[in-house]
Amino acid sequence: MSTIQLDSKIPSGPLETMWERHKGDIKIVNPANKRKYTIIVVGTGLAGSSAAASMAELGYNVKSFCIHESARRAHSIAAQGGINAAKAYAVDGDSVHRLFYDTIKGGDFRAREANVHRLAEVSTSIIDQCVAQGVPFAREYSGELANRSFGGTQVSRTFYARGQTGQQLLLGAYQALMRQVDQGRVKFHPRQEMLDLVLVNGKARGIITRNLETGALERHEADAVCLATGGYGRIFFLSTNAMNSNVTAAFRAHRRGALFANPCFTQIHPTCIPVSGTHQSKLTLMSESLRNDGRVWVPKRAEDRLKDPNQIAEADRDYYLERRYPSFGNLVPRDVASRAAKAVCDEGRGVGQSGLSVYLDFRDAIQRDGKHVIAEKYGNLFDMYHEITNENPYETPMRIYPAVHYTMGGLWVDYNLMSNVPGLHVLGEANFSDHGANRLGASALMQGLADGYFVIPYTIGNYLAGNTFEKVTTDHAAFAEAEAGVKAQIDKLLAVGAKGKRTVTDFYRELGKLMWDNVGMARNEKGLKATIEAIDKLHQEFWENVKIPQGRGLNKELEMAGRVADFLELGRLMAYDALDRKESCGGHFREEMQTEEGEAKRDDEKFAYVAAWEYQGAGKNPVLHKEALTFENIHLAQRSYK
C-alpha cells in the first residue's frame, strides 16, 4: 500500500499576509553559492521561459529544454485575449481580493485559497515586469494602459496586446531567456524531448531526452527539475492546442511517482470555429473577448436552423445566454457558456450543416459603434475567421462551437510548486494548482508568469538550501536504468511499427473521439465505464498494430507515437477520475448531478477535495490520495451567474 502523505505546505496565519511571511521565512541560497546549483527547466512557454530566465538571473546554472527548434514556438504564443491583473486602475471595484474571489468562484471552489490569493497578489508585478521588458500592451490616448473585461467577471482587469497577448508576453520572457543564453547562464537545448525523469535516492536529479533531429538519447543531471510542459488538451485529438502539445514529460514523471491531480478538469472553450470535417487536424479559437460585443443566439424554432440568419426576425431568435443569465449575459464563464451551447444544439436548434454550432452576432455592435470600431478591436480575428470559413463575419454572424482549450488538472504541487517527488517542481498549465474546476479567461497567462517570475525563484531556493545534495553524474546507475527504459520503449514502438497496419493518427483520432463523446462537455457513469474499457482495448491494439515509419533520426511519426501511447494511459486516468467525482463542478459536468434547470450541482460534502492519483501501472486502477480543500476566506456557495 502507498505511503504517500500529501502535505500542501500552506503556511499558517492570515491569508492576506501569507505569501509575504512565507518569503521571509523560507531558506535562501547565498548569492555566491547559487552558481554551484544546476536546475533543469523543461518547456519554454510562459512558465518555463520566465522561470529559466529568472533563476539564471539569480545566478543558478540553468539548462533549458524544448521540443521546438526555438523557445519562442511554445504554445503560450497562441494565447489571444489577455492577462488579468488586479491593478484596479479603474474605479470599478477591482482589488486583489476581488480577483482572488472571482478566481476561486470561477473555479467552482475546487482550487486552494492560498495559491490563488498569491496569484492575485503577484498579478500586479507581472504587468510592471512585462512593461519594463517592452511588451507593447494596448494603450489609451492618455498613454496609459488599456483594459478590457473578460468572461466570468464584472470588472475590467484584462491587459492585452491586440489579439496577440500570449505572443507578446512570451516574446518578453523568451527575450529575457535569450539574454541569459548569451551571458552563458542558461544552456539551451532545442528539439529535445524529455522522455523520463531520473530519481536518485528519491530526489529528482535529471532527465533523459531524445534529440529529435538525430534520434540520440541524452542524459542530463541537475540538483532540481522544473517541468513547465503545458497541458494535455491534445488528448481530445481536436482541440485549440498546438499540434505538438502533449502530456509526455508530465506523464513520465507521473510514472516515476508524481501524483496527477484532477485530471478530469478540462476546459471546453465556448468560442471556437466549428468542426467542418474529418480532415481537420485542429480547431481554431476565436478570442473570448468577442463576447464583449457579440451576442450569442440560435433560432427559437428548430425548423429555422438552416435559414439565412439575417432573414430570421428578432422575435424568432433566442439569445439564450442573455435569457438564462441576465446579470452576466454573454459574459458568463466558459464552462457555463459551453454547456449552454451544447444544450441548445442537443435540442436540435444548432445551426450550420452539422447542427453543431451557434451564432455569435456582431450586427448590433456594428450598428451601435460603427464597423471601424469593431474592426479596430477584432479585425485580425474577423480576418482569421473569414480565411478559415470563407464567410464574412461583418455581414453574416460567426458560427461558433465549444472546443477543448485548456486543462486545469495536472501534476500535484504544494504551495512551493513542488510535486510529491522531492526536487520535481511543476509550473504553469502542467500543474493543477490555481484554476480549480474551471479557468477564467485571461488567467492562464497570469498563472504561467506568476509561477515563473514570482514564485519559483523564491521557492526553489528553499528546496536547495534545505537539502543536501550528493554529487551525481550521468554515469550513475539511475541514469543508465532510465535511458535503457526509454530505449526499450522506442525499440518496441519501431518493432511493432514495422508490421502494424493502423497509423498513429488513426489511433489518435479514435481516442480523441472517445474522450470528446464521453469525457467531454457531459459525462455519465455508464459512458465513463464503457470508455475505460474501450481505451484499454485501444491501448492493447496500439501496442500490437500501430504502423510507424522506421527512421531513427528525425521521425515525427515516432515522436507522435510515443505521445499517443501516453495519452492512451492518461485517457483512462481522466475517465477514472471523472467516474470518481460524482458531482458537477466547473468543466466537469456529471449528467446525474444537475438541478432541475440543468445547472451543475456541486457536492461540497463529499467532493471538496483535490483528487491526486498515484500510478500503479498501465491498465491498472490508480490509487486516490485526497487533499481536503478548506474555505476560510470565501463562503462556499452555489455558483450563480443569473
Binding site: 504564443i77 512593461v131 507593447p136 496586446a161 496577440q164 529575457a176
Partner: protein, 252 residues
C-alpha cells in the same frame, strides 16, 4: 480535386536532396494546405514510404513553425498568411504544386522541408531585449507611452520569426526580421537605454550568421505573414548610423 505535388526530399542535413513527385487525390477545398500534406502523409505511411517531414505547430499563423516555399513563393500565393493559414480552395483541380524548404546559408536543411532557424535566436541573444531583470520595476503606468508609438511598436513586435523574409529575399537577408525587433524596442521608452548597443550588436550578429545584405528589393515584405513594413529596415539603418556616433555602443 486531384493535384500533383513536386516535393523536396532530403533525408538529413548532409544528404543530397532531390525533388520527388506525388499524386494527391480527393483533396477537399476546405482543407488547409498542411492538412492536405497530413492527408498525403497518411497514404505514404500506409504504403510503407517515408512521410514528408515538415514543421508545424499552432496552425493558426502565430508560432512561426511552419514555412514552405510553395510554387516559388514563401508561404504560398496569399498575402499576409503563414503556410498553415493557406486553404486548398485557392488551388484548382489538376494543379501542379512545388514545395521546397526555406533556402538560405544561415538556415541549413534538417530534413525534407524542415530547416534550422536558430540563427534567429542568436540574433535575439545579441541584443533583442531590454535588460530588465525579474523583480520590482516602475509602476506600469508611471511611464506613459503615446498610443501611436505603442501601435508602431506592436506592428513590428508582431513578427513571428518564421523566416519567410529570408526565404523570399534573393540575398537571403535577415534584415526585416532584425529590423522589426530593433524598431519594436526603439519605439518604446523602455527600449531607449540600450538602443545604440542593441542595434550595433544585432546587425553585427546578423552579418556573422551568414545572412546576405539588403538591397531594397522588398520581397521580404511581400512574403511576411504579418505584413511588417519595409520601413523597419530604413529605421534599422538610421538607428545604426545613430549608434555609430553613440558612446554607449563604443563600450562593446
Amino acid at each position: 480535386m486531384n493535384l500533383t505535388l513536386v516535393v523536396w526530399r532530403q533525408s538529413g542535413p548532409n544528404e543530397t536532396g532531390a525533388f520527388k513527385t506525388y499524386q494527391a487525390k480527393d483533396v477537399l477545398p476546405e482543407m488547409s494546405f498542411l492538412e492536405m500534406l497530413d492527408f498525403v502523409n497518411e497514404d505514404l505511411i500506409k504504403a510503407g514510404d517515408e512521410p514528408i517531414q515538415f514543421d508545424s505547430d499552432c496552425r493558426e499563423g502565430i508560432c512561426g513553425s511552419c514555412g514552405i516555399v510553395i510554387n516559388g513563393q514563401a508561404h504560398g500565393p496569399l498575402q499576409g498568411v503563414a503556410t498553415c493559414q493557406l486553404y486548398m480552395r485557392h488551388f484548382h483541380d489538376g494543379d501542379v504544386i512545388s514545395m521546397e524548404p526555406w533556402r538560405a546559408k544561415a538556415f541549413p536543411v534538417v530534413h525534407d522541408l524542415v530547416v534550422n532557424r536558430s540563427a534567429f535566436d542568436r540574433i535575439i541573444q545579441s541584443g533583442g531585449y531590454t535588460s530588465a531583470k525579474t523583480g520590482k520595476h516602475a509602476e506600469a503606468n508611471a511611464i506613459l507611452v503615446p498610443k501611436e508609438d505603442q501601435e508602431a511598436a506592436m506592428d513590428n513586435a508582431a513578427c513571428i520569426g518564421c523566416g519567410a523574409c529570408v526565404a523570399a529575399c534573393p540575398n537571403a537577408s535577415a534584415s526585416l526580421f532584425t529590423a522589426a525587433k530593433i524598431t519594436h524596442l526603439a519605439m518604446l521608452p523602455q527600449g531607449q537605454v540600450e538602443r545604440a548597443r542593441r542595434v550595433k550588436r544585432m546587425v553585427e550578429r546578423m552579418d556573422l550568421e551568414g545572412f546576405g545584405n539588403c538591397s531594397n528589393i522588398g520581397e521580404c515584405r511581400a512574403a511576411c505573414p504579418k505584413e511588417i513594413s519595409i520601413e523597419a529596415i530604413a529605421k534599422m539603418r538610421s538607428e545604426y548610423l545613430r549608434a555609430l556616433g553613440s558612446t554607449e555602443a563604443k563600450e562593446d
